[in-house]
């Protein structure tokens, strides 16, 4: 409970301090983060509801991941000078800690709303009102779903405690449980940007205040996964949920589609943060597919994806924040060649991108490996193909990001861009080292997850310190890491001898003899994958967003039609009454009058 109090106090105090709000916010975040680990269960009554708060192993894991990422992002340099940046940030953290610690529906919902509203204010800016409002409407729809679910549960079980719901589950018929999954799932799906409910995400991420987006995508979207885990395995229970084949199947394929389509759309984005937004949607699709397998492999894969995504997406969004801070530009067409100005940021984002692609030495690979193993074990041959296609799209859009921002010939206007602020580099380097650590020691990570896996009712998979092994195959992260270092050293030594470096300026590249000048735009970056875009332009035109807006327009038009009936002046209504009256009389007479 101390965490919630600390976060709340922090948000109040940072509102009033002008200069030092950054340091105070960071101190409060770190203190609350530490306090989170030692929270004691607490029980207090509020208007004959007893609100129960306690730290379960599952919320312990999610708390560590999300709150530590939050303190790293808090450590970064804020792009905006607005006063309410830190207070709102800490307020959303208060909401999150309430969600994680609450053991009852009421405070869970209260925390959920607090988080949504405070993050809405950090997204809303008058440059693009629609993005903010879309986010608010989407999370409102989600919240109503959860509220209806809670009320159904309360009506049936009479108490708002989680334990009461999971104990007398037999009160609910099978059909009602599917409704509940649908209702709660809508709420959690919106937050985790599952495909049909994802339309707020691309614009929402783009408009959010800069370093906050790192936490928004790295931390906030994990609440949706936390919700799903809670719903499917704690409330309904593992064995009971295992019988719901149709829901498992649809959830798995929904996650798979989100993963592939998210990645495929990300390829063609020209805005930095929209590309990373679609990539977050795609990675969350991985997590949801994994948890919907409802096997121990699946849940471990889902938790691993959450952890690795929080790390590398945190780094990438911090890089995006520092690039936007220094250049003020958002789209790839205006950027390029920044590797000369921001070398450290470049190195960090290369490692993050290697993690994003799931290439072995970095942390992304064990997550993807567990997802594949889980899918094979759960006999989903078609879905493995879709997930592998999704990971291939990851190569394309992650290189698009690195090339658009750092490579190519630098425009003269970007000549004197300074390196990213030191705080950004420091926090992203620590996140990168963590990513490397979880890549080389997957066994340790599974150990870290094992209390949560047992709490969810699964057997923990066989693992040693550096290796993971499943009945299908095993992966030795430590060996791969060591071999990478040795081979890397050998290759570097080989490359240091032999020919000397012929230092060449950026305008001395091969241009078939033509002399280039600083101003010649000898740079290929906009429309990077034009040849794919041209062939799939038909497919790319249809988008969920257009679908929703067409529904909205349809409702509006039909409402217009109704206005012709309810014209709003008295005489017409009197006519309606008379007509109805006459109809009744005729009906009565037709039925045989006053027999």
């Amino acid at each position: 409970m101390l965490t919630i109090a600390l976060y709340f106090a922090g948000s109040i105090i940072t509102y009033f301090t002008k200069k030092a709000s950054a340091i105070i916010a960071f101190i409060f975040a770190v203190l609350a983060n530490i306090a989170f680990v030692f929270t004691k269960p607490l029980n207090f009554h509020l208007a004959n509801f007893n609100l129960n708060f306690s730290l379960t192993p599952l919320s312990y894991i999610f708390g560590i991941i999300i709150l530590t990422l939050a303190s790293f992002v808090m450590f970064c340099y804020p792009n905006t000078k607005e006063r309410q940046y830190y207070p709102l940030f800490l307020l959303s953290l208060t909401g999150i800690s309430i969600i994680l610690l609450s053991n009852n529906f009421l405070s869970f919902f209260f925390g959920w709303e607090l988080m949504s509203v405070s993050s809405f204010f950090l997204i809303y800016n008058n440059k693009d009102r629609k993005a903010g409002l879309l986010y608010l409407v989407a999370s409102a729809v989600g919240a109503y779903g959860i509220l209806m679910g809670i009320s159904v549960v309360y009506a049936k079980t009479g108490s708002i405690l989680f334990t009461s719901f999971s104990q007398n589950l037999n009160l609910f018929s099978r059909r009602e449980i599917v409704y509940l999954i649908f209702l709660f799932g809508a709420g959690f799906g919106v937050k985790a940007a599952l495909m049909p409910l994802h339309i707020w995400a691309p614009d929402g991420y783009r408009e959010a205040r800069d370093p906050f987006t790192a936490f928004f995508s790295g931390g906030l979207s994990k609440l949706g996964i936390y919700g799903f885990l809670l719903l499917l395995f704690v409330f309904i229970g593992t064995d009971r949920f295992a019988t719901f084949h149709i829901t498992k199947w649809t959830l798995a394929w929904l996650g798979g589609l989100t993963a592939f389509l998210g990645g495929f759309y990300a390829i063609f984005q020209t805005d930095i943060k929209r590309l990373l937004a679609f990539s977050s949607i795609s990675q969350m699709g991985y997590a949801i597919t994994a948890l919907s397998l409802s096997t121990s492999l699946g849940v471990t894969a889902s938790l691993y994806t959450v952890l690795s995504h929080a790390l590398f997406k945190g780094i990438l969004f911090i890089t995006a924040a520092s690039v936007i801070l220094r250049t003020g530009k958002h789209s790839f067409d205006e950027l390029g060649g920044l590797v000369k100005n921001m070398p450290l940021t470049f190195i960090v984002s290369v490692f993050a991108v290697i993690g994003l692609n799931g290439v072995p030495p970095m942390g992304g690979f064990p997550a993807k490996w567990l997802v594949y193993e889980g899918l094979i074990k759960a006999h989903y041959p078609g879905l493995i193909a879709l997930m592998f296609a999704a990971s291939t799209t990851a190569f394309l859009y992650s290189y698009r990001f690195i090339h658009g921002v750092f490579f190519g010939k630098r425009m003269p206007s970007l000549k004197n861009i300074k390196e990213a602020p030191f705080v950004n580099i420091l926090s992203s380097t620590i996140l990168m080292l963590a990513l490397l650590f979880i890549g080389m020691f997957p066994g340790w990570v599974v150990d870290f997850f094992s209390p949560a896996i047992k709490f969810l009712g699964f057997k923990v998979m066989v693992h040693t310190f550096g290796t993971l092994s499943t009945p299908l195959g095993n992966f030795n992260g430590f060996l791969v890491g060591i071999v990478f270092i040795i081979a890397g050293l050998f290759a570097t030594i080989v490359s240091l001898f032999f020919s000397r470096k012929m230092r060449v300026s950026s305008i001395d590249t091969y241009s078939s003899g033509e002399a280039l000048t600083e101003e010649t735009p000898y740079h290929y970056s906009s429309n990077f994958y034009l040849f794919i875009q041209r062939d799939f332009s038909g497919f790319l035109r249809l988008s969920a967003r257009k679908f929703y807006f067409s529904i909205a327009r349809f409702i509006e038009n039909s409402a217009q039609g109704l206005r012709r009936i309810y014209t709003g002046n008295g005489q017409v209504y009197i006519w309606y009454v008379i007509i109805v009256w006459i109809g009744l009389i005729i009906g009565f007479l037709y039925k045989g009058g006053f027999k």
Binding site: S499, M502, V504, S505, I507, D508, Y510, S512, G513, E514, A515, L516, T517
Partner: protein, 172 residues
């Protein structure tokens, strides 16, 4: 120069054919099936960065000569120049034209001249054989000469082509 390094340089010459004038027609049979330069390890390379030999075949108009010099400077050492035809030796039939330079020797160091108004593929192969012999005897040191008396070359280049930032990118 170590033995294996030198033999590999002889056995694998990657060439940038800078076809300026009418020499290009003679180079086609050299590369393709009729005479097949590839059997000696002589293949065309896509960019000057990857090539060792620059073959200049034809008259040197001022416009082309600027590009030839830039391409030559983009090639990594050790690099060799083979000049085909009379136009590169002493101006050929364009000796008195206002737009063509006469002696390639004055602007970039040439290792092998192949005389002829345009030499046939057989003599081009003899030229390459001569180049290989020079490499073996360490006599093909055009690139060293270019570094040592670059000033002289630069003076000639400025006299004929004008020294403007528009074409000279790099002072070697």
């Amino acid at each position: 120069m170590s033995g294996i390094g030198k033999t590999s340089r002889i056995k694998s010459l990657w060439v940038t054919y800078y076809v300026t004038g009418c020499g290009g027609i003679e180079l086609l049979p050299v590369i393709t099936s009729r005479f097949d330069a590839e059997r000696f390890g002589i293949i065309t390379s896509a960019t000057p960065r990857q090539s060792d030999v620059l073959v200049v075949s034809g008259f040197l108009t001022t416009k082309t000569l600027r590009r030839i010099i830039r391409t030559y400077e983009q090639m990594p050492d050790p690099k060799y120049v083979v000049a085909l035809g009379a136009c590169t030796i002493n101006g050929g039939i364009y000796w008195d034209s206002y737009s063509t330079a006469d002696k390639l020797e004055l602007y970039i160091p040439v290792d092998v001249y192949i005389a002829g108004c345009m030499p046939r593929p057989e003599s081009i192969f003899m030229g390459f054989a001569h180049l290989m012999a020079m490499i073996k005897g360490d006599k093909a040191d055009g690139w060293k000469r270019y570094h040592e008396n670059y000033k002289w070359y630069k003076k000639n280049q400025d006299k004929a082509l004008g020294n403007s930032k528009k074409w000279r990118v790099r002072d070697v």
